[in-house]
């Protein structure tokens, strides 16, 4: 079976932390399409190996070389390039994040391999489906080189374990890093505030607020918590400083594709739509009936969010009780 290499970056992850949902989705794709091998940057641990074994991964190639931590991304791309060559992988799967795309780009040049980003579907011939032009078109594309590098969006498959679990064996590797890959030094790291809510990119439900919130994200957060949802925002809300930029949905923020996206006090500009219009179900609450967001809403409420949201939150909690 064809080898599919999957990159796990655990350089900043505490030992024992579970795999992220996105990683499990990539593993699901990999063990469905071929023989998954993991290239792991950072430490390995027993619970990680146990999880990987359940996804059919028998080989885990680990590097803990300090360069992986000292410099921005480029050494990780070098590591991956060596792992593709040593495993003969025909495809590399990466997250569709900023890091994932940068790694994919460098890896493509290192291996003279084609890269497809924003993948939302993949068949056994490695033909990829991706959405382009802010979600207006669906395209099927394929890589014409020996190795395919794919950055895959979150939420495109249901996580399933491999049919037969295996024992994952660790092989520690040391790779040579290119001098050109050691030019951008990381001189300081500051952790960003983490919320107790699900991560925006892979949440099943997102409640997003915009300028209509007028500085008060309370109603959005309360509804999100009642639904177990992630919180998102428009750029108007992040630019105003009401919420961190990490929560921005749209062209220059996160692209999300949840089961349910509830848009609150957001007008629905093209740059906002770019990040959410492939959501399965869209609900919009806006007091302006002419807001473009209603054009893409499955259920729209023309009304004051400060009335509608608390009422909905209370009703959800009442039905649960």
């Amino acid at each position: 079976m064809a080898t599919i290499l999957l990159f796990l970056d655990r350089t900043g992850t505490a030992a024992g932390s579970p795999l992220s949902k996105v990683s499990e989705e990539l593993l699901t794709l990999a063990h469905t399409a071929g023989e998954p091998v993991v290239a792991l940057a950072g430490p390995s641990d027993d619970s990680l190996l146990e999880q990987l074994g359940r996804h059919g991964v028998s080989r885990v190639l680990v590097s803990e070389q300090p360069e992986l931590n000292d410099y921005l991304l480029a050494p990780k791309a070098d590591f991956l390039a060596h792992m593709v060559i040593s495993t003969g992988a025909c495809a590399v799967l990466l997250e569709n994040s900023a890091d994932g795309k940068d790694l994919a780009g460098r890896l493509g040049i290192a291996l003279s391999a084609g890269v497809i980003t924003d993948v939302v579907g993949l068949d056994s011939e490695l033909v990829a489906e991706k959405s382009v032009l802010a979600g207006e078109y669906n395209v099927r594309a394929r890589v014409t080189t020996a190795t395919a590098i794919l950055t895959v969006k979150a939420n495109i498959v249901d996580v399933v374990a491999a049919e037969t679990p295996v024992t994952a064996a660790v092989e520690t590797v040391e790779v040579p890093f290119d001098a050109a890959s050691q030019q951008v030094r990381i001189v300081q790291r500051s952790p960003r505030a983490v919320s107790g809510r699900p991560a925006l990119e892979d949440a099943r439900v997102v409640v997003a607020g915009g300028r209509g919130l007028d500085g008060d994200f309370g109603p959005v957060e309360q509804l999100a918590d009642a639904l177990g949802a992630a919180v998102g925002a428009s750029r108007a809300a992040t630019d105003a400083g009401w919420i961190d930029h990490a929560f921005q949905v749209g062209q220059t923020g996160k692209t999300v594709s949840p089961q349910l996206y509830i848009s609150v006090g957001i007008s629905g500009a093209i740059q906002q739509k770019a990040g959410m219009q492939t959501s399965k179900v869209i609900v919009a609450i806006n007091n302006d009936e002419d807001s473009p967001v209603f054009e893409i809403a499955d259920f729209g409420i023309v009304g004051d969010l400060f009335e509608v949201l608390p009422q909905a939150t209370a009703e959800i909690l009442r039905r649960r009780a």
Binding site: G12, G114, A134, T144, Q183, R189, G300, A312, I316, R319
Partner: protein
């Protein structure tokens, strides 16, 4: 690969800003049915490139300013009409423009585009050594964000991508940047020359003013072809690409939804809708 410039402190700063002429997202954007290529009739300077241009102008102003020999060159690769993006950049404040245009470039994927730009930058570097190549965080049409990393890899230059703050040390030798990741913010340092892509968080781009529009008329735009660069056409365009599009279809339109006006119970109706959709 060769370095573009061994950095000499206090010399003029030569910055290249990569810009793209892209279909205006305010209108319906289309892919051609047969070639799957973009309809580029209603195109503008990509909004995301304005942040890169602003970052270049700000760096130039902070390091020598108007009376310096600093250059900010707006560079684009694209069909003849793409020169409009260069002209806009000149009005905003770029000092000169370069337009690489050649039929053979049509259909280039990110890898082929980065191949053409890498050779172009080396070509420009033989005339004036290049200190810095600035780009936007993505093109608003292709949206892959691959070109900056691929260009840095091809040229062997420092790669500082998706940065939200950028400055240059007093002596002009060290670049400092911030990159906001999902879990942490990184402070980065590198020596020049470098390839830097900037996010829309980095600054507030300026608009062209009347003086700038007049001044732009006297600025030079150099048009180049692949032959001028000695670049084999087979290495770019569809033949130089490592990916191919098999088919493209407009996303099926969303079925019209139900829109209700709140008469006091819309919050309850919302919960009913979610329950009916099994989303609770």
């Amino acid at each position: 690969m060769q370095r573009l410039k061994g950095h000499v402190a206090q010399s003029a700063l030569n910055i290249i800003v990569l810009i793209k002429h892209v279909p205006d997202a305010q209108f319906d954007r289309r892919l051609a049915e047969d070639s799957h290529r973009m309809d580029r009739s209603e195109s503008i300077l990509s909004e995301l490139d304005e942040y890169a241009l602003e970052a270049a102008l700000a760096l130039s102003e902070q390091h020598g300013g108007k009376n310096s020999e600093n250059t900010v060159t707006a560079v684009t690769v694209g069909p003849p009409a793409a020169v409009a993006a260069v002209k806009k950049a000149l009005q905003i404040g770029a000092t000169a423009g370069v337009h690489l245009s050649d039929e053979a470039l049509a259909g280039s994927d990110a890898a082929a585009t980065s191949a053409a730009i890498a050779v172009l930058i080396q070509h420009l570097g033989t005339q004036t050594p290049v200190d810095l190549v600035l780009t936007g965080m993505a093109s608003t049409d292709g949206e892959t964000s691959l070109v900056p990393a691929q260009l840095a890899a091809r040229l062997g230059l420092a790669q500082l991508t998706q940065v939200s703050a950028l400055s240059l040390s007093e002596d002009g030798a060290t670049l400092m940047a911030r990159r906001d990741g999902d879990t942490e913010t990184l402070e980065l340092q590198a020596s020049l020359p470098a390839v830097v892509s900037v996010t829309d968080q980095i600054n507030e781009p300026r608009y062209p003013n009347f003086k700038g529009i007049l001044a732009a008329k006297k600025k030079k735009v150099t048009t180049l072809t692949l032959a001028d660069l000695g670049l084999d056409p087979a290495l770019v365009g569809a033949s130089g690409s490592w990916t191919e599009v098999l088919d493209a279809a407009p996303r099926p339109a969303r079925a019209a939804g139900t829109i209700v006006s709140d008469t006091g119970d819309a919050g309850i109706q919302l919960v009913d809708f979610l329950a009916a959709q099994k989303l609770l």
